[in-house]
Symmetry: C2
Subunit: 465 residues, 2 copies
Amino acid sequence: MKIATHELRCTECGTRIAGTAVNSIFRCTICNGLYDVIYPWSAIPNGDTPATDSRLPNASALRWLWQERRTSTMSVDQSGVWRFRDLLPIVDDLDHVVTLREGNTPLYDLPRASKALGVDWILAKHQGMNPTGSFKDTGMTAALSVARERGFEWVACASTGNTSAAMAAYAARAGMRSIVFIPEGKIAWGKLSQSMDYGALTIQLKTDFDGCVNVLTDLVNRFPIMLLNSVNPYRLEGQKTPAFELVEQLEWQVPEHVIVPGGNLANGSALAKGFSEMHHLGLIPRIPKVSIIQAEGANPLYRSLQENGGEELIPVKANTRATAIRIGNPASWRKALRALRTTGGWCEQVSEQEIALAKAEIGSEGIGCEPASAVTLAGLKKLVAQGKIGREERVVLILTGHTLKDSTYTIDYHRGELFTDEESTQISGSDQILHAALRKPPIVLDADTDTVFRALESQMKLVHA
Amino acid sequence: MKIATHELRCTECGTRIAGTAVNSIFRCTICNGLYDVIYPWSAIPNGDTPATDSRLPNASALRWLWQERRTSTMSVDQSGVWRFRDLLPIVDDLDHVVTLREGNTPLYDLPRASKALGVDWILAKHQGMNPTGSFKDTGMTAALSVARERGFEWVACASTGNTSAAMAAYAARAGMRSIVFIPEGKIAWGKLSQSMDYGALTIQLKTDFDGCVNVLTDLVNRFPIMLLNSVNPYRLEGQKTPAFELVEQLEWQVPEHVIVPGGNLANGSALAKGFSEMHHLGLIPRIPKVSIIQAEGANPLYRSLQENGGEELIPVKANTRATAIRIGNPASWRKALRALRTTGGWCEQVSEQEIALAKAEIGSEGIGCEPASAVTLAGLKKLVAQGKIGREERVVLILTGHTLKDSTYTIDYHRGELFTDEESTQISGSDQILHAALRKPPIVLDADTDTVFRALESQMKLVHA
């Protein structure tokens, strides 16, 4: 199925330019807005007419093709992103595709969380099972492929961790050089280790995340370096594909709710774009509500919605142990707002204690995730309590990172060192009981069978009581 | 394709018992040997006759079935282990299968390593891309499914890390309780964090790995707890499936060499069993040479082969930073010896410096792995230098763990803190140049564009020089 090439369309003023017209600064030259990638078959707001070929790709043919590719041994078919390349016509020549066999992530049921919450059907789509351990891989395979096709030798991003790991891996795979800008300090070392492992040049700047972005913007203006921050619209094209994969895994049934963590706010809008495109093409009959959950300490979108209805972003000084969403001034906030409005989803915030508990609950289902991922379950609890999500509705949580991304957090939690005494007093009585049941600090014992035997007996009683 | 059930056969004395006859101590009651799982269609040494039904499963039908299942949305079909269940008839009822969507791991080419070594075709099968980040998942899905089918509520293992993480995750998934015994100290915390995260009860014993095994053996004798150490033959049934997956990914072509890290030594023999079974069933025309690489500081198999031709195991006091293979008295050494002999592979040892360099080289291809995985590339270099592997032969390295399993190692390496001064002097001149090119310590700079610009210019020159 050959489909004509793409354009970029400003999400603010609607200006459209050829896909190849911009490479470094992915902001509208007229109004500084962010771009969307659009295709000849895209539904375009405001009555604009599509560029060349308005014939819609055939839904049944796409479904069949996507399924058939799963039996192929070609790397572009084995990728859970490029398997959907019919709706990603951003690379002309598939030889330029840079892939690590991303995507194809598992969809788990969460039977214990379902029972505890009284919601029949809670699923977790685990994007942390991607090659570098986070959802960013689906975006980076797309953006690095575009960079390679356009002849770039260098790429760069400013990142709190997951983005840099993903960019470094895909750049190395492509034989390209990558530069990672990170704020000095407050870094999950497990994440920084990856960018070094994959051969990136890591520069720690004596500033915060926003300061890194400013320096980076200056640099990509002066060097032939492709910017791979979340403003790069090609990353979002890759990040929309888990929406396709999800409904395919559900045999083309659409869940009522999809819940994502909110940090830089690009992920929710990417998924919403994926669902909207599927709906427009007749692949699904309706669009799920996409809700975004932020940490209380990094809640600019939540605050803006509360205080001015989303008219203006209120940046915050971000502070949360869920490092992947510790972002106070998210670039993609307007896109996220659009996603909430077009899908009918909500924005919520959750506390550090709620995040920790939700992470331990997900872990107890045999599924590890990084702290930021756990905001989805914590947020779901609030939406259920508010009556926004009913018992018989189907909910999919998007887990964004692997548990190994921040093992220090897990260790601190189980050792009882995550919270200060003051923070601990803010945990409700029922949650304290849950915490006590879920915490598993290692026990140190003499290597003597009888000693172990006695300890085990008391533990068994404790557990069965 | 309905195939009759399995038996266990002692690998030492050949005694055969029903599969359900043993549950806790998986050692022959006559000679203390380890068991193999055998099937009615198995090729059995020493002229024994098979149990009931000797009709071989049809090779073409299996190939077709395995491919078709990849398009299914059923969890047993989406598992890269249970997709091959026709050759795993260890669970009668598929409802008992405990799966996290393991397997289906990527097969990467390593173009830079191929070029550097002058070997045309080096591939890496990355078992670290399994759900808990190591190859152990393929074994645990099999063993936990057997445990669930037999009604166990508790499982236990002694583990240096990866095994405990995998067991804890699958036990949690099954709604079972798990106990992890680990030696106190010298633990990669990233691995211990997982068993806590998945809700295991972790007991650190004041002894070494062998001491843990002794206590554990006593315990499973006195409690209804299934032993999940590598002596559990069902784990090896799961661990044989990457052999199937590998040749399927190669469109049923067989590589000349498969190289695995050697720690507890169960993995190489599991893969060799998989290849042998495929050969017996006519799925492949020949068996690849399976070679095993140990760290110099944990080399009992290598030493035994050098000093007594493999007649007796010479246990060692294990010491290597590749924690996943830090095992001095491996339980499965005889099985590993059999794998070397039946496939024609070799056993080699590599130094700490060689491991670190190989890990950085693999990382520079955009593929992270834990240190133990990197012994495969380090060992390949030696086998090539010895003339045992030729330019046109096809080599597959089995990478066993994810880079995030031990991020401290990566950080120490790139900061130049991995080796003592004395260890550093033992690195050859050419390797020192390689180390210098691969090491990427983060640079700390003021958040000023011109400062960054100058640093970057000097780096670019350095790189391009």
